[in-house]
Symmetry: C2
Subunit: 290 residues, 2 copies
């Protein structure tokens, strides 16, 4: 099975577990609605690439790790889209969960997906309890407080923002989870894989800032120009467009250099390069060529 | 250390973990605000009583189990109080989290507390990985979909409600988690302890319905008469006040009968009886005596 098929199958299985038995039907539907269609599934793809680069000796654990990261990511999108945050009407080309199902079910969908992320790992513990516990610790750290995506979002309610902590938590956290969990699922230590995740996360943050500044809403599938509207810190505001493009290139080179020695090192570097190509907005390439 | 001191100490430690390092300060404060003052801490108290009745051979695991149940309970209160659900201004005699910190931080506080509930169990896994995995599975099942408190709340967005599934999930789930996790933390099987939790949960539901119908807002620390206002199913609507009081007594007798054989069986029955006395609203006792 290729990586994409593994991811979709594992996610569908996790959602089916949440819809079983006497589940309330609309919330059960909303769980599926929130995770499909899947977008690029970037985090679970990175997770499985790292697992494969490390030998992938326990594929069921790697699949569970990839699923957990994606379920938590989808949960964060559902909650972040709600009126008290971004108040977004459209996500991935269709109405956001609270627009389609109402705010109460959107809130519960996010909550249920967070829980499902932990459950999928606990179920996979039969394959290797010690690795499963380590995976649960990592996804917990990168989701909650003080270092996870909740912390990242929490910084947006502060008057004084610790920018480094903010970016590392808001965008970096789930990429760090992705690389570390891929390694741990395959029996490797987590720590050497933190930098790769952090740098990929930083690249995504800069690319997102560029897209927000340069693209229209149709291209990026959500309202554009939101950083300026909401006075959010942005690499474009800080460095200008050219500076942000150079930063993106530097960060991706750093990501490739940070890959720890492992059997699949070369293939993993190639994956990061491909990700980089996809990350660069078309209008940014024009800017860079000018 | 007595049970109450164990619970408060374990909860404070879990919250401190979430506030460490470079946490966003207001969200860090809100975590503490959401779990203190603690109310009766009924679920973790039941959890520790069951662990003690089963020998409590791993107190650190039992403390983690009790903490996890309470953190998830507090998370559900924070989210349920939000404007899209109960829109409550006051909880435990002080402003609700969204009133004190705003909706974005209330949403994130709930999310962070859910995550913290899983993290506290993962950290305690060093004492016994197999039991910790089992505890994580139980709290997951009783929090998320299809059988947890998320499912219970989800039923309130359905036109056709499966009343038994609704009550079991909405109120019963965390009491089942409390009894089962107390037993598992002490090395016993979970299954025989489900009925005790379910019956205590049912008793609380009936008592809550009675309080909502009979008491004023000041006595119960939240707006009264909400079941009628929101057309929620209620034992009082279904059976009348006298019928609901009789139901409460029957359910508590059943709870005591259901206690599995264990070293601390008698003490546990005494704890359930005491809980029953606290559950009966004063005005219901008057009704019952009339």
């Amino acid at each position: 099975m290729d990586i994409s098929a593994r991811i979709e199958s594992a996610i569908q299985q996790a959602i089916a577990e949440g819809q079983a038995g006497s589940a309330p039907p609309r919330l059960a539907q909303a769980l599926d609605y929130a995770v499909t269609p899947g977008g690029a599934r970037i985090r679970p793809t990175i997770c499985l690439h790292v697992a494969l680069a490390c030998g992938d000796d326990q594929p069921a654990l790697a699949d569970a790790a990839a699923t957990a990261v994606e379920l938590i990511h989808c949960a964060s999108l559902v909650h972040d889209d709600m009126p008290c945050f971004d108040n977004a009407d459209i996500r991935r080309g269709k109405p956001t969960v609270h627009k389609a199902y109402g705010e109460p079910l959107a809130l519960l969908t996010g909550d249920s997906l967070i829980v499902a992320g932990f459950e999928v790992l606990a179920r996979a513990a039969q394959h290797d309890p010690a690795r499963a516990i380590e995976l649960i610790k990592i996804i917990g750290t990168r989701t909650g407080m003080p270092y996870g995506i909740c912390a990242g979002q929490g910084w947006e309610s502060e008057d004084q923002v610790d920018l480094s902590a903010y970016h590392q938590a808001k965008t970096g956290a789930l990429f760090i989870a992705a690389t570390q969990m891929g390694a741990v699922a395959a029996g490797q230590a987590a720590e050497p894989w933190q930098e790769l995740g952090a740098r990929i996360g930083e690249a995504f943050q800069v690319a997102d800032d560029l897209k927000d500044a340069l693209c229209d809403a149709e291209t990026i599938g959500k309202p554009a120009g939101q950083d300026e509207v909401n006075h959010r810190p942005s690499a474009v505001t800080e460095l200008g467009v050219e500076g942000a493009i150079q930063r993106l290139k530097d960060v991706l080179s750093g990501a490739i250099e940070s890959i720890p020695p492992c059997p699949g090192e070369a293939a993993l570097a190639q994956m990061v390069r491909k990700t980089a190509e996809r990350l660069m907005p078309a209008s940014a390439s024009v800017h860079a060529a000018e």
